[in-house]
Symmetry: C2
Subunit: 684 residues, 2 copies
């Protein structure tokens, strides 16, 4: 854990000087950008960007880059698919993958791609539905209204996905309508060794030399998607100072949270996550030493854990920075003073902060039980499926708007994709992960908790995990499908040990969740709405909401930064990858690169940094120029950008991208991936 | 991680109501105890307690309990010896150990027992030596004076150990003179399953049912020590409300630290430790899954890590408690106000807090480098030895008072015991631990740090660890002895890869250490002295210093406590162990207990809690009554007591002990350990 010094110059104050903001497509700061960069983002330009952007529903971004459905994203966004398509004899993660013909393109079992076709503001409908309500009634009414709006929007068409999105923590509600694509096939992935060159040590650092790319193709009716809306490839080579836009799906930020909410994270939530991620990392790395196959099957998880760990450390360090946190406190104090000075505002919003602080305490008291009784599957994918099957049987008997949100009609296609996925499940790994998860559950709730006794009985976590994983038939997708379709009767008569355990603990999970959803969640929602309206009242609404894994555009430029006394050049060259090659993992270039060295133009730009405001979820986002042409591919941020969860400092926060020139150079000369190059450049 | 609620009623304010304090033997609150408990601790009583108490130099406490050198301590204090005496065919950790005859008693390779024979106050000598000095000169002069005093005290006799101890963070300096015993043999240990019944889940909890005991015997001239000073066994069965004394060696507390120092711990030091312990725990647990032998050889480490982790969590939670920390801040503010109101005090002490705060920032900046370049051996016992051998060769050429403290003449016997130990070293485990340690080093310093490149070169941590461990001959104690005795010449001509690496990085370690010892340590020491004198000036000197792993006596009583609405009974019974038995580790009683169930008196008191003020290092301390007779054996504290590092709350902080009645019942009926029972009770 390297503690770095934050020097947040600008905090949530949108000035024309900082390239701050993850902007809504329907509230883009056109004037600001025009003034600063002399570029007018027309409605047509914004529509085109929206339609050429892609969301990977699992948690990443991407872009449509050809007329025949090609989608570009990061290697690490397709990593789990690449692993799922591999086996003990053929490891596409380490060897790379290239479909030489269309027939060789293979379907990813669990990838869903979304294209945002429309946004509408449904704030009035939502707030009308919850007017004068509070507590459970407020929460139930809001969820029911959301479910109704979503169902009306999709009209029951599984190819349409509609999500009501809460913006500004309740300040506004927008309806996002997507085209949903579930037939997504793998076209190309380089070797992990170059996709993630430098590995965990280099992750979130710069200079970098990674080719973190993969290409997928969206199919419709078993044919490559015929696609009008895609980003063209730039003919120019982007250079220092160039204006850049990033169009992608930042997952989550907390810039508008109150001080009490940030304290909850700093003193409890994040520390808890850090400890659990650290221990899990230690376990996973050593699990990989059981053997080559165990390493292969656990690598995706390890990557995810190390990535989260580094991110969470960065977030915690930002909150622990006294200057930074002091500014947050000062801002809130100032806002509250202004609210209290206006009698009308004081009545409308004045008490919201204290109410939220109380809710944080209540949340802290319930959090561990909520997590360990309801929100976890103890590390087991199989048990996750068992719990979902048991819940689905009961939930799907209810009308749409009475169900838990994740069982709303609009969510069912994704649930089914996950439940019926043909992705391999590794018994040994499942047992190991579940042993770990059950042990942590006992540790968190303590050995004498009735729930612990209910789950473990007289067994040790290891014994129970072994019995459940070996005994369950849920490894077979057909069995899962039968249980899903068989409904409550099939579930209740099932002899499957995982189904039986999931059924036994289902009431415990529902009970603790009810406590949260009736007593805590509505307070947080309602008071956050009030805080949002207070912010609007004082600061106006010309701003951007916290990230919500919905499409945002950020503007900025290719730009270096200072780290201590060192000025960091914003663009690296391919030569640098060879200079950094030691031959030892994670600094070992793959054979294909070593072999091709002499034919490569080593002066080709490889990676670059820009001051675009991004965060996790933006992985795979296209970086485009003012002509909406691809100049790069986001794959990381620098360490300093991790504090960006709570505030943006454009002097040091940087997005890290693969340069478009390196992509083409590698595809042409190293991988001879002519089909892809033609798809990309043939568009010209 | 279970967050519990602190309710610190009393904080550092010594009143006659709380049983607070880890008291110096030469500053015992005789009057307070007499007033409160109507018991007069005479000088003779205190001398007897001192001489019958034992310190295990590795980090535990113990007591002399017979006329023939028997020493009682915890199982977990002798755990590493028990493991070192075991092998793949005979596992004394899981099976237990009992020497039926004197000939069967086996020497522990690395245990040193100390008996405190004298304490003298050397404050004047130390302060005279450093008068008017600061920075490096201050630090060098202080260390030289300490080395001189210690050498004069021992007179070069290896059987005498003399330590100058810094009390009140520099308020006073005392010379502790010990008799040193290095021939210590294992006599008895129960099975791990009962010594640590409930395992990590029950650790630091109560009610408990553990027999965490082992018996060692001190030998002199190859014969059991003839011993006049020992604690007799109590004929009475201690019960709720009984007055109890604990005489032991609390390792470290931080009750007198300034707010800036506590913030350093809360926001940096402890979090760093927590993350590293968590990851190491994950690694170790999974390493144990490599096989039975790997589990056996890694168990001691895992126990230590889990124990430290729980303790550190408790400490961090205490500091994160807003009420608790707020009181610390308020206390310091009050103290500083009083100091500033007195012009003489203001000059003498007024700036100390700010100076200390600056030093904490400087320490934070250097800490990771200091730790990773100088203070760690990357998890490898062999490399620890290599580093010590390399250092010793150079240091021992210097006069005693110019050496690093750990190479002072007075420390050499312990160093030699550790260096030449015959304890087994497990190659596979060494490689795994060193791979982990080198990986963390690269992560902390970052891949491009010159030191990282110097150590790893082009190799991965795994490759380097493998080469070093396989290649070194240091596994053989004879080789280590030859290198030690061969001095600088032997070291410099050695072809051993570990010696060569240790030699190569020695200058880096010395350089960063010099920076710390010249620029930071003297400020912390000098300013802490000033803070201590300020505290004396305002509050008087009738108090106890922070724990320093030196002998302290705490008074208190057997006493339950409330946990939420539940009142916890202070004494458990043997029956409870059988009630808690599930048959699954860690809740599986050993066969010996199950077999003996019918002949045991299940009403025998098993464990108890008392409000004695203890902390880590007190493990193995005797609990005695007013007649200085054994009534129990400290082995743990409750969760609430973990915050005791920073302040004591006698309403909930509890020490946890094995009851003397359970010890005798088990020794007699389960283990038929008549020799021990005779040693213990024959004294009557």
């Amino acid at each position: 854990m390297k503690f770095f010094i934050f020097s947040f110059v600008v905090l949530n104050s949108i000035t024309s000087f900082a390239d701050e903001g993850m902007w809504l497509l329907n509230n883009f700061p056109t004037n600001t950008v025009q003034k600063k960069y002399n570029f007018l983002a027309t409605p047509e330009w914004l529509d085109h960007v929206r339609l050429a952007s892609a969301r990977l529903a699992g948690g990443c971004s991407g872009s449509f880059v050809s007329a025949n459905g090609l989608v570009m994203t990061n290697h690490h966004c397709a990593h789990s698919c690449i692993e799922q398509l591999s086996n003990a004899n053929k490891d596409y993660v380490s060897e790379g993958f290239y479909a030489k013909t269309e027939n060789d393109e293979v379907r990813c079992p669990e990838i869903e791609v979304n294209r945002l076709v429309n946004i509408s503001n449904v704030t009035q409908q939502i707030t009308a539905a919850t007017k004068n309500l509070k507590g459970q009634a407020y929460n139930d009414a809001q969820k029911a209204e959301m479910a109704k709006i979503e169902k009306n929007c999709s009209g029951g068409d599984d190819n349409i996905r509609c999500d009501v999105v809460t913006l500004f923590h309740g300040g506004e509600y927008h309806l996002y309508k997507y085209h949903r694509y579930q037939d997504v096939r793998l076209v190309f992935a380089p070797e992990m060794a170059i996709a993630f060159f430098g590995g965990d040590p280099d992750n979130f650092n710069f200079p970098r030399y990674d080719l973190d790319v993969s290409f997928l193709r969206v199919y419709e009716n078993n044919r490559p998607l015929v696609n009008k809306n895609f980003f063209k490839w730039s003919n120019d080579v982007a250079k220092d100072g160039d204006l850049t836009f990033v169009s992608g799906h930042p997952g989550n930020t907390s810039r508008l949270l109150t001080v009490a909410e940030l304290e909850y994270l700093r003193d409890f939530g994040l520390i808890r996550n850090l400890l659990s991620l650290s221990e899990y990392r230690g376990f996973l790395k050593e699990y990989g030493n059981r053997g080559i196959e165990q390493r292969r099957t656990s690598e995706t998880d390890l990557f995810g854990v190390e990535n989260s760990l580094k991110k969470t450390k960065g977030k915690e360090e930002a909150l622990l920075d006294k200057n930074f946190f002091g500014k947050k406190v000062a801002e809130e104090t100032k806002l509250r003073q202004k609210i209290n000075m206006n009698p009308k505002w004081k009545v409308a919003y004045g008490s919201a902060w204290d109410e939220l602080a109380k809710a944080q305490l209540a949340l802290k008291n319930i959090k561990i039980s909520l997590e360990k009784i309801e929100q976890t599957s103890y590390g087991s994918d199989l048990f996750w499926k068992a719990k979902r099957l048991v819940r689905a049987a009961e939930e799907l008997q209810k009308p749409n708007e009475k169900r838990y949100r994740e069982f709303n009609d609009s969510r069912l296609p994704q649930l089914k994709q996950e439940l019926f996925s043909e992705a391999p499940i590794y018994e040994e790994f499942e047992i190991a992960k579940m042993t770990f998860g059950l042990t942590k559950m006992r540790e968190d709730l303590k050995a004498d908790h009735p729930f612990v006794k209910k789950v473990l009985g007289l067994k040790s976590p290891a014994t129970l995990a072994q019995e459940l994983v070996k005994g369950t038939r849920l490894k077979d997708p057909k069995v899962r499908k039968e249980l899903f379709e068989g409904g409550q009767k099939a579930i209740e008569s099932s002899k499957d040990p995982m189904i039986q355990l999931a059924l036994a603990i289902d009431p415990d999970g529902r009970a603790i969740r009810k406590k949260f959803e009736d007593d805590i969640e509505p307070i947080i929602k309602k008071q956050s709405e009030r805080v949002a309206h207070a912010q609007f009242a004082v600061n106006g609404a010309n701003t951007y909401p916290d990230a919500t894994f919905t499409l945002r555009v950020s503007y900025g430029k290719i730009r270096g930064y200072a780290e201590g006394a060192t000025q960091i050049n914003p663009i690296t060259k391919m030569q640098g990858a060879f200079d950094r090659h030691t031959g030892s993992d994670p600094f070992a270039l793959p054979k294909s690169w070593l072999d091709a060295k002499t034919i490569l133009d080593l002066n080709t730009p490889m990676n670059f940094v820009s001051d675009n405001d991004i965060i996790g979820g933006n992985s795979g986002s296209p970086v485009i120029n003012k002509n909406a042409e691809i100049v790069g591919l986001i794959f990381d941020g620098n360490l300093q950008s991790l504090g960006g969860d709570y505030g943006f400092d454009d002097s040091v926060n940087r997005a890290v991208s693969v340069h478009s020139a390196a992509l083409v150079e590698a595809l042409k000369k190293i991988y001879k991936a002519d089909r892809i190059v033609n798809d990309l450049l043939g568009a010209h």
